[in-house]
Symmetry: C2
Subunit: 297 residues, 2 copies
């Protein structure tokens, strides 16, 4: 499950409520393409903006729509007692695994983060992916901490947020992790623009935002990279550079949500208030870019 | 209400539940000292870790214990629809004002933050304090944005998080804000170690963590600073330097919660999991420091 392409769909919202029909269509698109796993309610799925009831509702919909494809869902929350309840809900809804970022209001120490995962690990009967996401959590994992956490019972994967740009340094880091994490724990890459490199340099799974919208293309890119086809990987990835430039300016969620609105697969606006999709010139420019990227559609 | 000393008590928790008796005692201590306002459920009161029901429960307790002293409470939440409900709850509980930080999972733009306050301002019938807290929200307010927000109907105060160390620059910044914010909007200082200076340099109110535990001393410091008694202010503030050194190393919440545990006014541990109070040598050293600071007690 924590291998290949794990695609993260949006959770389209209208006035704070889930647009079920669009959400189901997004999942069906992933099922038809045959992604390796579906990451319902990742950061891209706006999990942090939903009530407990909505998270259960969306997870159930995802599982029932996903057929035989494993669904993983985020159980993150600032309040630990709520993380426990979300874990129960997710398992009841039939997920194959859960994602968990160390959300906090106050900054956390390494020791606090370790205890947090240790305690939730004891509550779980499905595998857990450690969700490194410093842009939203402010917590920076060290490799030593990730390696220590990998030994916890339920940990099945680690989603890295950043790898060095430099090939040698990235290879060194990934190799160090892969050698030292507990047996069977996979290393995942996120941050779409660096993910093709991450896969070529040894990561096992791409936790992918673009995969939630364009799964066929993302699968082709994943397969090229995992089979070390450098030329094909480079071509498929660099063709997306215009999109990565938008990511760089506005963040992946804002861009992919705008793309979904432009394509008409979700209602507009689709993000939780006060988050906004692109407007004005940047939106017009994204419309033009998408026309050039018609191979995605 | 948004003047003088606004004291922020802890919300002591045991296994995620509010210890009502200790919480009431903390509030009674503030009432006896005659603070200008009580900031129930600030960051120090762990608001972000509580359920909606617990926030209502704590706010009602604070209001009923506070007698004639105005109570303000935080209505912050990542989900906007929940902010609206928390505002309703707070007003129903009888608060005199609310605090609101721009909590978000995704980074917010200036425009998104403006719309956020604009929309909640329209829902409120009590004054709002804009809660600048970049250490927890990651959002950095510009002075231009604060000035624009001050014109919203319900805005009554701005809680600054950081002022320049340099006296001239700090005076310039505070003077610029005071001259340009809407009439009647007060400027507050937070960050205990810089607050005496902030008050001497023109701020109207101290949003105080130490004030929630040691209100008599904090009132004396507030009065000295507001009356521009530089010598007395310097003496009262520099006597606290050993405590500010702990703040600097561990953050104000961890330190003041450890102080409360050491004094026996709350059960131990009193913070929401996974946050920890000080242990080992640092705790022993804080015990010694408190003995030297016996004038606080």
């Amino acid at each position: 499950m924590f291998k290949g392409l794990c695609a993260f769909p949006l959770t389209p919202l209208t006035e704070g409520e889930i647009e079920e029909k669009s959400f189901i269509s997004l999942i069906e698109n992933l099922v038809a393409a045959g992604v390796d796993a579906i990451g319902a309610l990742g950061s891209t799925g706006s999990y942090a903006y939903l009530t407990r009831e909505q998270r259960y509702q969306a997870t159930k919909l995802a599982v029932s729509t996903a057929a035989n494809i494993p669904v993983i869902t985020s159980i993150g929350h600032v309040r630990f007692e709520e993380v426990v309840r979300l874990a129960e809900d997710a398992q009841k809804a039939g997920v194959s695994g859960v994602l968990l970022a160390p959300l906090s209001y106050q900054p956390l120490s390494t020791d606090e983060v370790f205890r947090f995962y240790e305690r939730i690990s004891a509550e779980l009967s499905v595998p857990l992916c450690i969700y490194d996401n410093p842009a939203t959590t402010k917590f920076e994992f060290t490799d030593e901490l990730l390696i220590a956490l990998s030994a916890l019972n339920q940990v099945g994967s680690i989603k890295l947020s950043e790898i060095p740009d430099n090939r040698e340094l990235a290879l060194q880091r990934i190799d160090n992790l892969k050698t030292r994490v507990a047996k069977g724990v996979t290393i995942g890459i996120s941050g779409d623009a660096q993910s093709a490199n991450g896969l070529m340099w040894g990561c096992d799974v791409w936790y992918s935002v673009i995969g939630g919208m364009f799964p066929h293309y993302s699968l082709a890119l994943t397969q090229a990279a995992l089979s070390q086809d450098e030329r094909k990987t480079h071509k498929l990835n660099s063709d997306l550079n215009p999109l990565w430039a938008f990511y760089h300016r506005h963040g992946s969620l804002c861009v992919i949500a705008t793309v979904a609105e432009i394509m008409g697969v979700v209602a507009s606006p689709c993000l939780p208030f006060p988050l906004q999709t692109l407007t004005g010139e940047e939106r017009a420019s994204l419309v033009q870019t998408l026309k050039q990227l018609d191979f995605l559609l």
